[in-house]
Amino acid sequence: MAKSGDKSGGSGKKSLKRKAAIAELQRAAVAEHEATESGVQPPKTAAFPPGFSISEIKNKQRRHLMFTRWKQQQRKEKLAAKKRLKKEREALGDKAPPKPIPKTIDNQRVYDETIVDPNDEEVAYDESTDEFASYFNRQTSPKILITTSDRPHGRTVRLCEQLSTVIPNSHVYYRRGLALKKIIPQCISRDFTDLIVINEDRKTPNGLILSHLPDGPTAHFKMSSVRLRKEIKRRGKDPTEHIPEIILNNFTTRLGHSVGRMFASLFPHNPQFIGRQVATFHNQRDYIFFRFHRYIFKSEKKVGIQELGPRFTLKLRSLQKGTFDSKYGEYEWVHKPREMDTSRRKFHL
């Protein structure tokens, strides 16, 4: 009978389920009984027809059983293979081939020709004469105006307040329904160097417009994953008035350079190391993660950090040349999802 054949095949392998085991023993006993009756030795090992797959078993419980058994065996084999490989490596010692590097999307990134070479003179000249040159030449020091879209809710207001503690020399103003194009000339006349507008939608902040003021570029970001101070677990005490250090990670392409310089120009040049505070803009796969920490060196190599301050993630939507003018301004870079996001391994920042 096919059924008993299956069961006896199953009993050939190790079975963990007690019920199944008992059932099989019984069936095996029956089979044996039948077999001895017929005078033929029962088969000890599995006898599946070739081309048989576990998914063809119609009974769900038995199918599940077979599958779990197969999975455990695979795991065991994998572990055995690892151990064997490890032993071989140890045996070979120095002559062992190098460990293969696992593939990640960051590893597999397509070659981007716009990645800036640190010795590139043209880029260096370009950067020495662009809109941020006056900041990097220490001729101007930053003064930031932080505002929101009209009628902001609590979260956005609190985020603005916390941002103003993070960014030195920044002022928060309530946006009384004023047009940005009218705010900007007033800011310029009062010597502001940057304007940050946090856009809000449905009571959560979801966008950031960063405009460098005297005719500088305007970057528009999508903001997500905003965590205010009280939502951060295991955080340190509130940040002090010391000027933080800045870390800009992974802004490699030409566009990334421009955006990185925009962020750098928000903070004054002279970080106060006494304050041990650091603001990090980490770019990974076109997402920019902002974190604010306080660090302490426990020994020469061990550092402890406490996260202070708000935390959010930004994604660049467009970089416009000139101050905010979304309708008539010229765009240096616009994110076009259908054209630019075709490859999972291509990033722009």
Binding site: D120, S128, T129, E330, Y331, W333, V334
Partner: protein, 443 residues
Amino acid sequence: MASDAARWNHVWVGTETGILKGGWRGLASTESGGGTCGGLPLATLARLTPSTRRGEPSTKTSRELHGGGTATARGGGERPLLGRRRRDSGEWPLPGGSSGPGASQPPSPRHPALLCLQILVGCADRTVKHFSTEEGIFQGQRHCPGGEGTFRGLAQADGTLITCVDSGILRVWRDNDKEASPDPLLELRVGPGVCRMRQDPAHPHVVATGGKENALKVWDLQGSEEPVFRAKNVRNDWLDLRVPIWDQDIQFLPGSQKLVTCTGYHQVRVYDPASPQRRPVLETNYGEYPLTAMTLTPGGNSVIVGNTHGQLAEIDFRQGRLLGCLKGLAGSVRGLQCHPSKPLLASCGLDRVLRVHRIQNPRGLEHKVYLKSQLNCVLLSGRDNWEDEPQEPNKVPSEDTETDELWVALEAAAKRKLPDLKQTQRALQTKRRKKKRPGSTSP
């Protein structure tokens, strides 16, 4: 070698950092050509935009336009400096960062064995420089004062140089390098806020100007001081409000008197001075963003326009409909030019990449090159035989023993030490320039 390289360059691009770059469109190699314009943003090849920058020119001028294969013709790494870097003399005015396009002089397309090509390059400090593609160096410059703002149009006609600046001063200069006379031959006031001045390729003395709140006007430089044709604004819109005017680019249609303009309010209009109607004969809209550049296609029925979002579209101006779009640009389109006979389009923009597209069968991107500065304008050589250029054997050019005191002085003042002696000797040759022929295509 440098001169050979420069001669076979087909695509010339001007950048915001003041570098003129040229390259082969072809696949074979990456010849480099070009030079800096004194570290100033180039105002024009077709149209150049000055920025507020001035300053020390960067070191190596020529960067290669990679035409595909990496191959070759690095021709012995000592591809010498093409063009001279002029050090900042500190006199440049500081423009307010407005854009100042200007037209450039395309090389004559009718001579396949062309030896002498000249490109006029207008810079942000209102100097116009002559770049010789044959010799690969800037041969001279002249300062064109008057008015404010940057160049919006450059043209050459019968030995005269026509310039137009942002504030509306259109001047005709005698184009004689030996005597840079400070007085223009003719001066016209076109009206403030000019965005483009274009010369009619069929009639070199006819120019058209247009700008922001400055309606399209066609001027005859040999005629009276009044414009030959002054366009009228369209009727009030459905809310009975005046439609604002912002002509960003103008093209003359060959074979008739018509003009096509594209505006900053995303309209494309066709005007016909021959008809009694001064309003546009045809008007269409494309997109939601200002159209910044326009070029005629070789077929003759359509124009290709680009806007500030990097969208390119081919619009048929006989029927007023959209024929198709081209994608790829990520930044504002600053310069467009079609090849006069082949279905190729070169586009450059603020995203620092020069792209060559194919317009028909099939429509798509043919090639793109990353150039490290923001690009302002592009110029294509009108030669038909782009593919036929053989690899020039490195032959020593015939050395002229003429020495020109002026050139020696210029060289001494501006150049930096080069190991290549040939370069120096070539620079001392008499420059041969061909004037622009009337029948040639202008950008």
